[in-house]
């Protein structure tokens, strides 16, 4: 049991060294992390690009949408003036959670490489 623990720690130390010394294994690990984080950032910016960036186009091709009123207020005013801010915060909150999970996965991978 003790031997297994120390072997695991050896492996973790070796992986850390591989990262620091830029071996092929270490390099591949970092590339994987960067790719995962970048893909996450791109996915969430796509959500914003469609959710918010689509609005001017929508208002332009379907002017009727702009005349819809909710509680006496025209829809574009509600969407832009009010709803856009919680939407942005929600996307940001999701990003922080998912990005931290990516980093946790990476840390686990480095510290327990046998998994």
């Amino acid at each position: 049991m003790l031997a297994e623990v120390s072997r695991r720690e050896d492996r973790a130390a070796r992986t850390r060294a591989e990262l620091a010394q830029q071996t092929r294994v270490g390099d591949a690990l970092v590339r994987g992390l960067v790719r995962a984080q970048f893909a996450l950032a791109l996915r969430l910016s796509l959500v914003v690009a469609i959710g918010l960036g689509g609005l001017p186009w929508l208002f332009a091709v379907a002017p009727a949408v702009g005349r819809v009123t909710v509680l006496g207020v025209n829809l574009p005013w509600l969407l832009l003036g009010v709803a856009s801010f919680p939407f942005l915060i929600a996307v940001g909150w999701a990003y922080v959670r998912l990005a931290e999970r990516n980093e946790q996965d990476f840390t686990d991978l480095v510290q327990r490489p046998e998994r």
């Binding site: 270490g26 702009g66 915060i89 940001g92 840390t107």
Partner: protein, 546 residues
């Protein structure tokens, strides 16, 4: 105006700002204390400080003024100003903090190891900083002139002198306390009067924002024209008015239509539709690109990230900032909308940026409540000028002292502060007639076309080279700078040339990215040999303790 509360309120805000500055001065002992606030600032303070620094004259005055004037289409300004923090969070916050770079020029040298690129970045930091400082000083001049009747240059010079002295003497530790205090002051100064305004609107039996016959004057008003304009009167005649003309109106008179302003209810209320104006759609998308991507390239925003303890904290701080800033941006819309009812004369005089300051008095009358709220708003406006200019000045002065004067000493920093503060003060005195938010929008466009591609590609793409980065900044950023200069100094344009220069981001940002990538690929042998180590440093979580 004769409001006896306004001047004491402005003096109080200024004194508190200076006072906290001196309190910080006693704590700031060494050069490193002075510049980076010792990196011992808690995330909550830091987030409030970032918010306080970011919410400028453009946010506090300009957004409401634009909404009053142009309606729903300019709601993209507040949305974009907030969304900029999301882009910063997604692509920049954590890696930038881990890079250890304190300024944008630092990041250039750290990532690409090039002195020459560092110099180019320095030039752009100074240009963007000054371009952003001018409207802050303009806003100060306008506010003081509106509420006290003092000459325009007095307010601009007052803020320039107070901020320069405070930054030169207190450094950044002081600024962090000042900024955090000012966020809450600004939020209060807009939120409390907004509640009273909404109640007043209810009490007035909810007058329509866009009455079918167009806006009317609620009370007898004499409008003093500030900008040359063409008016279309209710009886069909058109009149040319010049600055200084006085136009008397009785209560209930319709507000004449002003050329170039959305007086017509439908134009103001509804988004610009396809077919009638493609340029409108282009300008909207251009504005979205500039504000979404420009925030990360603003020099005073970036410096703050260094005060987070690590990358994960930088991300969480950014999220809090997004929430704080988002909460604030719910408010200017209220002022812009109610301004249509209570201060339609601003559409005629052209002083729409003054709506936030004038609305409480106009809607609530000359009673004590109205005057107190007007004083609160004026104090909040001054907080906006002081905090944003302090942050900008700290960054520009920091860059000038390390990269231009080449001295890291406290004395060098003070000299740099005086230089950095004097130039925009002179510019603000000569450029009085521009919309505050539009000048700020141009600063965002330049930042989005120069530093945004540099940061995003530098953080996520190993292939970026120093030549590629320099070419991208020169071509994309240079095109945006050219558009700014044509808009601010050049002859009046119309049609597509006007749109392409007034809202350049939609073509300059893709241009900057394309040039940066193409030249980097062509010079790929120049990619730094240690890029692998840099990537590890930017992206590896701190938990690994590498």
């Amino acid at each position: 105006m004769g409001n006896g509360f306004v001047v004491p309120a402005i003096v109080a805000v200024t004194l508190v700002t200076v006072g906290i500055g001196f309190y910080g001065l006693r704590l700031a002992r060494t050069t490193s204390d002075f510049l980076v606030a010792s990196r011992a600032i808690s995330p909550t303070w830091n987030a409030a400080a970032i918010g306080g620094e970011y919410l400028s004259a453009a946010s506090f005055l300009g957004v409401a003024g634009l909404i009053l004037k142009y309606g729903v289409d300019v709601l993209w300004y507040p949305v974009g100003f907030a969304a900029g923090y999301l882009a910063l969070l997604l692509f920049v916050a954590a890696p930038l903090r881990r890079s250890g770079a304190f300024t944008l020029p630092d990041f250039c040298e750290l990532r690409l190891g090039s002195r020459r690129l560092r110099i180019l970045a320095t030039v752009f930091v100074i240009f963007i900083g000054w371009l952003y400082l001018v409207p802050q000083l303009q806003g100060a001049g306008l506010t003081l002139a509106t509420v006290t009747g003092s000459p325009y240059p007095l307010g601009a010079l007052l803020v320039a002198v107070v901020v320069t002295a405070n930054v030169a003497l207190g450094g950044m530790r002081a600024i962090t306390f000042v900024q955090a205090f000012q966020y809450w002051l600004k939020l209060t100064a807009l939120a409390v009067p907004a509640v009273f305004l909404a109640l007043q609107w209810q009490a007035d039996a909810r007058p329509a924002v866009t009455p079918p016959d167009g806006p009317t004057f609620r009370t007898a008003t004499t409008v003093v024209v500030e900008h040359r304009a063409t008016l279309a009167l209710a009886d069909g005649r058109t009149v040319e008015v010049r600055p200084g003309d006085e136009l008397p109106f009785a209560a209930g008179d319709p507000v004449p239509e002003v050329s170039g302003v959305a007086t017509d209810a439908a134009d103001w209320l509804l988004p610009s539709a396809a077919g009638d104006d493609d340029r409108g759609l282009f300008a909207t998308y251009s504005l979205i690109l500039a504000t979404f991507l420009g925030t990360m390239g603003l020099p005073h925003v970036l410096v703050r990230f260094y005060t987070n303890p690590d990358g994960a904290a930088a991300r969480r701080t950014t999220l809090v900032v997004l929430a704080l800033v988002g909460a604030f941006y719910l408010l200017p819309t209220v002022y812009g909308v109610l301004g249509r009812i209570y201060t339609p004369q601003l559409l005629l005089s052209g002083q729409t940026d003054a709506v936030v300051v004038l609305l409480p008095g106009a809607a609530l009358g000359d009673g004590t409540t109205g005057r107190l709220l007007a004083a609160l708003v004026a104090a909040g406006a001054f907080a906006a000028f002081l905090s944003t200019s302090s942050g900008l000045l700290t960054s520009v002065a920091g860059v000038i002292s390390t990269d231009v004067l080449g001295r890291g000493s406290v004395r060098g920093f003070r000299l740099a502060t005086v230089i950095a503060g004097a130039v925009p003060a002179v510019l603000a005195l000569h450029l009085a007639g521009l919309d505050v938010s539009q000048v700020v929008g141009l600063a965002f466009a330049v930042a989005a076309s120069s530093f945004c591609p540099l940061l995003v590609l530098g953080i996520w793409w190993r292939g970026l080279t120093d030549l590629g980065a320099a070419a991208g900044i020169l071509v994309g950023g240079g095109a945006a700078v050219g558009a700014v200069l044509v808009t601010v100094l050049g002859p009046p344009l119309s049609g597509w040339p006007a749109t392409l220069t007034a809202q350049p981001a939609a073509w300059t940002v893709p241009l900057a990215f394309a040039v940066m990538v193409a030249v980097s690929v062509a010079t790929r042998r120049r990619a730094p040999a240690d890029v692998g180590a840099t990537m590890l440093r930017l992206h590896a979580p701190e938990a690994l303790r590498l």
